[in-house]
C-alpha cells in the first residue's frame, strides 16, 4: 500500500511554498548598502525602521505552513494505491512472465544452475489461479509455454530451455512480456527477471516500458568481481611465398575481468593441430595483441582456432576462422596481330596488382585463341578486336551464357562493322570514331555510382574518373537490353553493360592504354579495371567468420564448386543442400531466401550437398565479444527505465489497484476532501492563535 497522487505536478507547489521561507533564511542583504554615519536615531523610530524580520512565533508559522501544504496536497489528489477498497472479485490470479536470461554470459561459473534453481523455486510457489509464461531470451526472446498455472507444464517448459551463445538484450524480453500482458485479462501482473544483468545488455536507447501496473522482481545472479579473458578478434593476412601462400595471424586478447592476468597461454591451431603458442600479460580491462609466425595456407578450407587459457567462461576462449588458398581469376586478353606494342601493357600491369582476388592475366593474339583458352578463363577481354564470327563467336556466347565475363574495348582495331553474331552478346554496335582532340579532350561526367563497378568510387575522394582526358572514342549504338553505366561530357557512351544468360558483357568505347585517352596514367585506372574484372568474374569476398546472432549470406558460396556441381546448381537441380551447425544440427535449405541463415552457435558451420557429404564449404562463427564483458548494471536503473519511474522494484501493490483506473480509485477514496477540511481547521486555529498573540503584543 502506498500513497500515490493523481496530479503529482501540483506537489511542485510545495517547493513554491518553501521558497519564501528559504529566501528569508538564506537571504543576505545586498552588500552595497547606503552608508550612513549612525543608525542611532533611525533605530529609535519604531516600526518604520526595522531589522530583518525574524520568525517570532514558530507555532503560528507551522500552522500556516501546514495549512498551505495540505492545500497543495489536496490539489494533488492523493490516494492509496494499495488500499483494498475493492471486493474480493478483484483478488485473483496473477499474470506472471518469467524472463530467463540464457545468453552466453550465463555460462559463467554456476550462474545457469542457479538460474534454473530460482526458476524451479518460483514454479513451486505458483498458485493455481496464476498464469505463468517462461520467456527465454538472449538477443532474441522466445516464449517457452502458453500461460499456465500448471507446475508440471512449467517444469516441462523449463526442461526445454538451454544456454545459447548469443548476447543479452533486455529490451526484446520486456517487449515480449508487454505483448503477453496485452493479451492477458488478469490485472495483477508481474515480471520476474532471472539474469546476470550484464551492463552491455541494456542500451538506454532501448526505450521499453511496461504498463504501469506491472511489478518487476529481479533475481540478480551477477558477481562484482569476475575473471574472463577472451579473444576479441583475429586478423589474417595472406601473402604468396614461392608457389604457395602463407598467412600471418594476429589475435587481440581482451581481459574483461577485474584482475590482471600474466603468462596467459595463447595458441594457434589449424585443422585441429597446434601450430604455435605464446604467452601474454594483459592488465584488467585492457587488450593485448599477439602476433603469430607465418604458416602455410592449407589446401582446401582450413579451420583455424586461436585459444587463450581456460577460465570460467570457456565459450569465448576460442576464436574460430577459416583460411583457404586465394581464388585466382583467370583473365584472357586477346588483341589483334598488328596491335600496338603496349596496347595491353597498362591493363596487364594493373591487374597484376593485388591479392583479393589474385588475377592471372594471359595476353594472346586473337588468331591463336583456342577453345580451351576460352573455357578456362573467367573473363575474356577483346582489346580493340573486332567481334569474331563463326566458332569463336559461339564459344564466346557459350562462355557468357554460362556465367563468364566479357569486356569489349573499342579502338582502332575493333572496326565499325561487326558480324551479326555480335548482336546476341555485345551491348551495342560500334560506330565511327568521335574526335575530341580539337576540344582538348573530353571527360567522363555521368557515372552510375549505384552499379557494382562504380560502387567503390561513390564515396567522396574515392577515385576521380573525370580526371582522365579522352581524345577519341568510338560511337556506340546501344542494344535494347543494354544499359549505360558511364557517359562522356558530350553525351557519348563510355561504358555499357548487357547481361546474357548468367554472364555479363561490358563494352568500353575507348582504348585501355594511353593511345586515345589518359586514363591509364590516372591513379583511378588500377581500381577501375579491378572492379571491372571482379564484376565480370562475379567475384565476392567470403567472410573469414561470422558473429553469433548475425545473418550469414550463403549466396556468396552458391557459386562455389566443392564437388561436382555448384550449390546453386544443386539447389536448382533438386539436390539437397544442407547447413550443418557446430553441434551437428542440420538445416536443409529449401527455398531461395534460405540462403540467408541466422548464425546461432559458435564454431564451424558446414554447407554441403548430400552428394558430397564429406567435403562441403566451411565457415566460422564466433560469440559476440560484447557478451564477454561481465560487468553488471544497476538493477534499479534498469527497473526504473522499464517502469518509467512510476514505481520501483519494491512496489508490490500495483496489481490489485490496477483493476480500477487511478481516477476511479482516487474518486472513491476522496482524500482531498479530508485534506481541505484539515486546511479549514488549521486556518481557524491559526486565526485564534494569531489573535491571542497580537493582543498579547498590544498589552
Amino acid at each position: 500500500m502506498g500513497l500515490t497522487f493523481l496530479a503529482p505536478l501540483f506537489l511542485a507547489g510545495l517547493v513554491g511554498l518553501a521558497i519564501p521561507v528559504i529566501v528569508h533564511l538564506v537571504h543576505k542583504e545586498k552588500p552595497e548598502g547606503i552608508s550612513f554615519p549612525s543608525l542611532m536615531f533611525l533605530r529609535q523610530i519604531p516600526v518604520k525602521s526595522k531589522r530583518r524580520q525574524r520568525i517570532r512565533h514558530w507555532f503560528l508559522f507551522a500552522l500556516r505552513f501546514l495549512a498551505l501544504a495540505l492545500l497543495v496536497a489536496a490539489f494533488s489528489r492523493p490516494f492509496l494505491s494499495g488500499l483494498s477498497v475493492t471486493n474480493a472479485s478483484i483478488e485473483g490470479g496473477r499474470e506472471i512472465v518469467v524472463l530467463l536470461d540464457r545468453s552466453l554470459s550465463m555460462a559463467y561459473q554456476d550462474r545457469w544452475p542457479r538460474a534454473l534453481e530460482q526458476l524451479r523455486t518460483l514454479i513451486d510457489g505458483v498458485a493455481a489461479e496464476d498464469r505463468v509464461s517462461i520467456v527465454a531470451f538472449d538477443e532474441q526472446a522466445e516464449v517457452l509455454n502458453q500461460p499456465t498455472g500448471d507446475p508440471a507444464a512449467l517444469r516441462a517448459a523449463m526442461g526445454r530451455v538451454s544456454l545459447s551463445a548469443g548476447r543479452t538484450r533486455f529490451a526484446v524480453a520486456f517487449k515480449l512480456a508487454e505483448s503477453i500482458f496485452d493479451a492477458s485479462e488478469l490485472n495483477r501482473r508481474e515480471v520476474v527477471v532471472i539474469s546476470d544483468f550484464q551492463r552491455t545488455g541494456w542500451d538506454p536507447n532501448d526505450i521499453q516500458r511496461l504498463p504501469v501496473a506491472a511489478e518487476i522482481r529481479t533475481v540478480d545472479l551477477s558477481s562484482q568481481t569476475t575473471q574472463n579473458v577472451t579473444v576479441a578478434s583475429v586478423a589474417v593476412r595472406r601473402e604468396p611465398r614461392g608457389d604457395r601462400e602463407v598467412f600471418h595471424a594476429s589475435a587481440r586478447v581482451f581481459n574483461a575481468g577485474s584482475d590482471p592476468v600474466s603468462d596467459l597461454p595463447v595458441t594457434l591451431e589449424l585443422n585441429g593441430q597446434e601450430l604455435q603458442g605464446q604467452t601474454v600479460n594483459v592488465p584488467a580491462g585492457e587488450a593485448a595483441t599477439v602476433h603469430f609466425e607465418s604458416a602455410l595456407v592449407p589446401d582446401g578450407i582450413g579451420r583455424g582456432i586461436v585459444r587463450v587459457g581456460t577460465d570460467q567462461l570457456p565459450a569465448d576462449d576460442a576464436f574460430n576462422f577459416t583460411i583457404a588458398p586465394g581464388a585466382d581469376v583467370a583473365v584472357l586478353v586477346l588483341e589483334n596481330s598488328g596491335a600496338r606494342g603496349n596496347q595491353s601493357l597498362y591493363l596487364d600491369r594493373a591487374l597484376d596488382v593485388g591479392e583479393s582476388p589474385s588475377v592471372d592475366v594471359t595476353v594472346k593474339p586473337f588468331r591463336r585463341v583456342s577453345a580451351a583458352d576460352i573455357q578456362q578463363s573467367d573473363v575474356i577481354i577483346l582489346n580493340e578486336v573486332a567481334f569474331p564470327s563463326g566458332q569463336v563467336a559461339d564459344l564466346l556466347t557459350t562462355h557468357v551464357r554460362e556465367g563468364g565475363g566479357l569486356l569489349l574495348t573499342l579502338g582502332d582495331g575493333s572496326g565499325a562493322s561487326w558480324p551479326t553474331a555480335a548482336s546476341t552478346v555485345a551491348p551495342g554496335r560500334p560506330g565511327n570514331v568521335v574526335e575530341r582532340r580539337l576540344e582538348r579532350g573530353g571527360s567522363i561526367t555521368d557515372v552510375d555510382y549505384g552499379h557494382p563497378v562504380f560502387d567503390a568510387f561513390s564515396a567522396p575522394r574515392s577515385g576521380d574518373l573525370s580526371s582522365a582526358q579522352f581524345y577519341r572514342y568510338r560511337g556506340l549504338t546501344l542494344a535494347d537490353s543494354s544499359q549505360i553505366l558511364a557517359r562522356f561530357d558530350d553525351g557519348g557512351i563510355a561504358l555499357a553493360e548487357r547481361r546474357v544468360g548468367r554472364g555479363r558483357v561490358l563494352v568500353w568505347t575507348s582504348s585501355l592504354d594511353t593511345y586515345w585517352n589518359t586514363l591509364g596514367l590516372q591513379p583511378v585506372f588500377v581500381p577501375f579495371v579491378h572492379e571491372i574484372v571482379k564484376y565480370l568474374a562475379d567475384y565476392s569476398d567470403s567472410q573469414s567468420w561470422y558473429t553469433v546472432g548475425s545473418v550469414a549470406d550463403l549466396a556468396a558460396y552458391a557459386s562455389r564448386v566443392p564437388g561436382g556441381e555448384t550449390f546453386a546448381d544443386a539447389f536448382e537441380n533438386g539436390t539437397q543442400v544442407v547447413l550443418e551447425s557446430p553441434t551437428g544440427e542440420r538445416v536443409r535449405i529449401q527455398q531461395a531466401d534460405e540462403w540467408l541463415v541466422r548464425v546461432e552457435e559458435n564454431g564451424f558451420y558446414r554447407l554441403k550437398t548430400r552428394a558430397d557429404a564429406a567435403t562441403g564449404l566451411v565457415f566460422a562463427a564466433n560469440v559476440d565479444p560484447v557478451e564477454s564483458d561481465l560487468r553488471p548494471l544497476d538493477v534499479e536503473e534498469l527497473v526504473g527505465a522499464v517502469q518509467g519511474g512510476m514505481s520501483d522494484s519494491t512496489t508490490n501493490a500495483a496489481g490489485v489497484a490496477s483493476l480500477l483506473s487511478v481516477e476511479d480509485l482516487e474518486q472513491r477514496q476522496g482524500m482531498w476532501w479530508y485534506l481541505l477540511i484539515g486546511v479549514l481547521l488549521l486556518l481557524a486555529a491559526e486565526t485564534v492563535v494569531s489573535n491571542r498573540l497580537s493582543r498579547a503584543v498590544r498589552r
Binding site: 548598502g33 554615519p37 543608525l39 536615531f41
Partner: protein, 304 residues
Amino acid sequence: MVRSRPSAPGARFIDPKILSRISDLELVARTVVDGFISGLHRSPFLGLSIDFAEHRAYMPGDDIRRIDWRLFARTDRFYVKEYEADTNANFVTLLDVSRSMDFASDGMTKLEYAKYLAASLTYLSSKQRDRVGMITFGDNIEAVVPASAKHFDTVLHTLDKLEPVPRGDFASPLRKIAESLNRRSIVALISDLYEDPDVVVEALNGLRFRGHDIVVFHILDPAEIVFGFDESGSYEDVETGDRITVVPDQLREAYQERIQEHRKTLAKRLGENRMDYSFHDTSQPLDHALFAYLSQRQRMSRVR
C-alpha cells in the same frame, strides 16, 4: 541698476566646498580667520580669550627682576608684573576622528570641515599667542600634540595626516584626556556627538571639573539633519556595519524630530553644566561658525 560688488575672496562667506579644494590647512585657516578678523574690525569681541596682564604684590621668593619699578616709583610698593606670556591660555582642540565623521552627502565631509574648523581655531588662538595643542580620538586617543606656542605647525601637520578610526566608548578617551591635561585649558571638542547627551555631559564634566573651559562644536552634515534620502533600502552604520532597512519617506519627520531633540537636549544639558555648545552643519561657511562661536562666548562671558 546698481549691483552690489561680490565679496572679496577669502573675506566673509567662504564656501566650504571651495575650501575643500584647498589642501593647505594653514592657508585655509589664514583665509578664514584673517577675513573674519578684518570683517570684524574694531569689534568689541576682539581678544576675548586673552587675559590682561596684572600686577600683584611682591612675595618673598619672587624674582626681583620682575618688580615693576615704575609702579614702585609711583606707589612706593613692590608690585610684580605678570607678563603677557604667563597669562596666555592653553587652547586644546579635541577632535573626534571616528568613522562617522568621514561622511559627506555633498562635497566636504564632516571630518574635513572639522579639520578646517580646528585649524582656524588654532590659528586664531596662535595669533593671540595662546599655546595651541590638539588631541584626536576615536575609540582611543589617536594623536596628541601638547599645547605649546610653537605647535601651530605641528597641529596643522597632524590634522593633515588624520585618518578616520572606529568609534568605541565615547567617554573612555575623554576620561583619559582629562587625566592627561594638567594645565587649565580652553578645550574645544569637535564631534558629531552620536552619543547619549547624558554620556556626553558626564564625559565632558570630567574635563570641566578639572578647571578646563569647554566649548563643544557639534558638526553634522545637512543630510543628517533633514534625512533627505529618497532611496529605500539597507542603510549601513559606518561605525558598526549594522544594517537596517529603511523607507526614508516614512520616517523622515520622526528622524528630524529626534535629531532636533538631540541637539536641544545637548544644548540644554551642556549649558546647564556651563559648557558652550555650538551647532554647525557642513554647508555653513566656516567664518559663520567662528562668528557664532565667538558671539556666544562673549554673551556667555557676560553672563558668567
